[in-house]
């Protein structure tokens, strides 16, 4: 019984939250890694693209709610997602046209593109704040829980409850669908294959008649879609606040680099590695240990390795350790 209780506690406080956070990071990191693979620079504006996309989704959600449209047990935001993606894709395509294309034609050094993306970051940040403000916004509606802690206790008779929030379930399911679709697209379709070819060897891809502008445009659209989905899922799961999305940049970059920049599979692995370590290191293990250890050895401290405020430190430490021992990341990223 104690073993089961320990397991349930672990699931409730570590595995489920980390899995949904990891799915959000993985989706964000996929966007960063795709941009890096095709356009060959680290996009500092990605966090703010996420914020902008989420802001759009929130606006449409409010409008839908005002019209009386609801998705029943599911959050209305899911219905608003396609519109949000479309607007965000339009914005990043416009940015590419107005800003990035000039430097691409010049074959500017990657670091110049990074600085340019810093400028885009400022503007997107400003636009998002302009549209929706800086306050924390909660926009989830519909059913809050798949299983609540109370129900679970009654069902199983265990002392520990297991709360499985619907936003967590939606995050994990959506992430699986999106990642599946993305890999199908990259591996099976003509456009996807041309993207991979372009990423592997630009000159060879150009020689074989691949239209670079088309590849770049498709990449931006996919990145915008991934950013909006990741941002909306994060916002549903926690809350929307423009500045928090800017701060997500660090764990997202950590995930992408740990997996190997340019490697989609690596981005997913990196996302989950970072999320599980962040949660694992900052969780107070006392409860689990109390169940597992005999009474005489019960711990009197919290058994928390680090306070939750240091979760960035964890993602950063993983980043450094991986870079020191495997400089191109776990899945052999590329180096520009």
């Amino acid at each position: 019984m104690d073993l089961l209780n320990a397991l349930v506690t672990l699931l409730n406080f570590v595995v489920i939250p980390a899995a949904s956070y990891g799915a959000q990071l993985a989706l964000g990191a996929l966007g960063v890694t795709l941009i890096y693979g095709i356009l060959r620079f680290s996009n500092f504006a990605h966090g703010d693209t996420m914020a902008f996309g989420t802001a759009m989704v929130i606006l449409v959600t409010w409008w839908l709610q005002g019209m009386g449209v609801h998705l029943g047990p599911l959050p209305t935001a899911l219905l608003a997602l396609p519109v949000g993606i479309a607007v965000t894709a339009a914005l990043v395509l416009f940015t590419d046209r107005a800003v990035y294309r000039f430097y691409r034609r010049q074959r500017a050094a990657p670091v110049i593109l990074v600085i340019v993306s810093m400028g885009v970051m400022f503007i997107m940040n400003g636009v998002t704040r302009f549209i929706i403000g800086v306050e924390e916004i909660r926009f989830e509606d519909g059913e809050r829980f798949v299983v609540t802690a109370g129900e679970f206790k009654k069902m199983t008779g265990l002392a520990e409850g297991l709360a499985f929030r619907s936003t967590q379930a939606i995050t994990i399911i959506t992430a699986i669908i999106v990642v599946g679709a993305l890999f199908w697209f990259l591996n099976r379709t003509r456009t996807g294959k041309s993207m991979r070819a372009f990423s592997d060897n630009e000159d060879l891809a150009l020689l074989s008649g691949i239209n670079p502008e088309r590849v770049v445009a498709v990449t931006w659209i996919i990145a915008a879609g991934l950013a909006t989905i990741a941002g909306t899922l994060y916002g549903l799961d926690k809350a929307f606040k423009a500045f928090n999305y800017f701060q997500l940049l660090l764990p997202i970059f950590a995930s992408a680099i740990v997996g190997g920049l340019g490697s989609p599979l690596g981005a997913i692995a990196g996302g989950f590695l970072v999320a599980f370590s962040e949660v694992g290191f900052t969780y107070a293990w006392k409860k689990v240990a109390t169940y597992l250890l005999p009474d005489s050895m019960a711990p009197d401290s919290l058994l928390q390795l680090m306070s939750t405020d240091y979760k960035f430190a964890v993602s950063f430490a993983i980043l450094i350790i991986v870079l020191l021992f495997k400089p191109t990341g776990l899945f052999k990223g590329k180096a520009v």
Binding site: P110, V114, M118, G119, F122, N125, R129, L305, L319, I320
Partner: protein, 440 residues
């Protein structure tokens, strides 16, 4: 127009803007008060120093440091640890000594791990290091945690920290530089061998960690409870107002003592900052035009060629990374001295990292005069864009009926800052990529 004349005109423009701010309101475009004008000037001076530091890293050596805010925050720690009066109780009770001991122990563990990393090979190394680090971590926490509790439980409303040394606050400025230099050495040792964008991410991460530490380690500088009333290197306004000599002095200029005292205090700060800026600028120009500066630029322009000439690229990078970061730390200490308070919650990367980058790029990377110009100009814009945006919004919404949209537009004027800065950066990068005062 000769280059020299152009540069003089550009600096003249900045001076004119500040004078206008001080003298006229021009329909609300400017503040019309010497107090705000001097406030902008003071932070402009500090911004110029920050921009000089980043310009050394980026302009001289091509190092991409996006952790400026971390170095600024670390430098800001120095006035608290140097200039505030010591909290004797926590030292006599032993808590503070035990914290120091714990930190020394932690450093020893890391040093031992680095030693093992160099001396051992294969599986044995991995196992030994893992055991050492895990055991070291738990031992460290066992010494550290009770000591921290002891310190933090002492008068939580006013102290709960280890206090400072009670030295003059000017001593804290170079010390702030040293703090930042120490952090830069650690980062440089681990991250400088990596590729350029990895260095960027590494500095971004370190900055976040430094700020997280300063927000959460209350024993150090009270965390988000803030330290206020840090001693100042200049007299207090209240004291000036009460001195008969000063009141007479103010009357001779025909101004009331209250305004005169604030202006005089700001001018004194400005004099200190100008002195620091002048020294750094003099040294930076000397360095840039020396063989050392030529070598740096050679490394920046072609690392492979420089390496083939026998230059130790990684060492030189480390050197300039430390120097540039130290200057950022110095500026951080100056900011805290100017505000005479440390508020870790206000260290925002947009404001202290990315804005400084805009200053360097707009001013002209690689040129020290450009960095200074960018520092003043962008800081002036940063302060003024908000009121200007407000007026613009008033104008736009003038004919509108009162309603949700009007309030929303008026409220969002505050966010014009970021938008404008991004726009300025992109426009300069596109149409004048070498900045206002290009590198020669």
């Amino acid at each position: 127009m000769s280059e020299r004349l152009r540069n003089i005109l550009l600096f003249g423009l900045v001076a004119l803007l500040i004078v206008l701010e001080g003298t006229t309101t021009m329909g609300g475009l400017f503040g019309g008060s010497w107090n705000t004008a001097l406030g902008i000037l003071n932070m402009g001076l500090i911004s110029a120093i920050l921009a000089l530091g980043v310009n050394m890293q980026w302009g001289y050596a091509g190092l991409f440091n996006v952790g400026v805010v971390g170095f600024v925050a670390l430098g800001g720690l120095a006035p608290v640890l140097i200039a505030t009066p010591p909290v004797a109780a926590v030292w006599t009770a032993g808590g503070a000594f035990r914290i120091l001991f714990a930190l020394a122990f932690g450093a020893a563990v890391i040093a031992a791990a680095i030693f093992l990393n160099k001396r051992m090979r294969g599986k044995a190394k991995a196992l030994a290091m893992l055991a050492l680090l895990i055991a070291g971590f738990f031992l460290f926490r066992a010494i550290f945690d009770p000591a921290v509790n002891l310190v933090e439980s002492y008068q939580p409303a006013t102290h709960s920290n280890i206090g400072g040394l009670g030295l003059p606050v000017l001593v804290a400025w170079p010390v702030g530089g040293l703090f930042a230099a120490g952090a830069a050495w650690i980062i440089g040792k681990t991250a400088l061998g990596l590729r350029s964008d990895y260095l960027a991410i590494a500095t971004l991460g370190i900055a976040e960690i430094i700020i997280a530490v300063m927000k959460n380690e209350d024993w150090l500088a009270r965390g988000v409870k803030n330290v206020i009333g840090i001693p100042r290197p200049v007299p207090y306004e209240v004291d000036l107002q009460q001195s008969a000599g000063f009141v007479a002095f103010a009357e001779r200029f025909g101004s009331d003592p209250v305004t005169a005292s604030t202006v005089v205090v700001k001018l004194l700060y400005a004099a200190l900052f100008v002195a620091v800026l002048a020294i750094i600028m003099w040294a930076a120009q000397l360095a840039l035009n020396s063989p050392w500066g030529r070598m740096m630029r050679a490394i920046r322009d072609n690392e492979t060629a420089a390496e083939a000439m026998g230059k130790d690229v990684t060492r030189r990078h480390l050197q300039i990374f430390i120097i540039g970061s130290a200057i950022c730390g110095l500026a951080g200490a100056m900011i805290v001295t100017l505000d005479s308070q440390l508020t870790p919650g206000t260290y925002n990367p947009l404001r202290f990292t990315f804005l400084v980058w805009v200053m360097v790029i707009v001013g002209g990377s690689g040129n020290n005069w450009g960095a200074i110009l960018g520092g003043f100009l962008i800081w002036f814009l940063w302060i003024k864009v908000e009121p200007w945006g407000n007026q613009l919004m008033q104008l736009v919404t003038y004919g509108m009926a009162d309603g949700a949209l009007k309030t929303h537009l008026l409220d969002s004027a505050a966010h014009m800052r970021l938008l404008t800065m991004g726009l300025v950066l992109l426009l300069v990068l596109r149409f004048s990529p070498r900045g206002l005062i290009p590198e020669k």
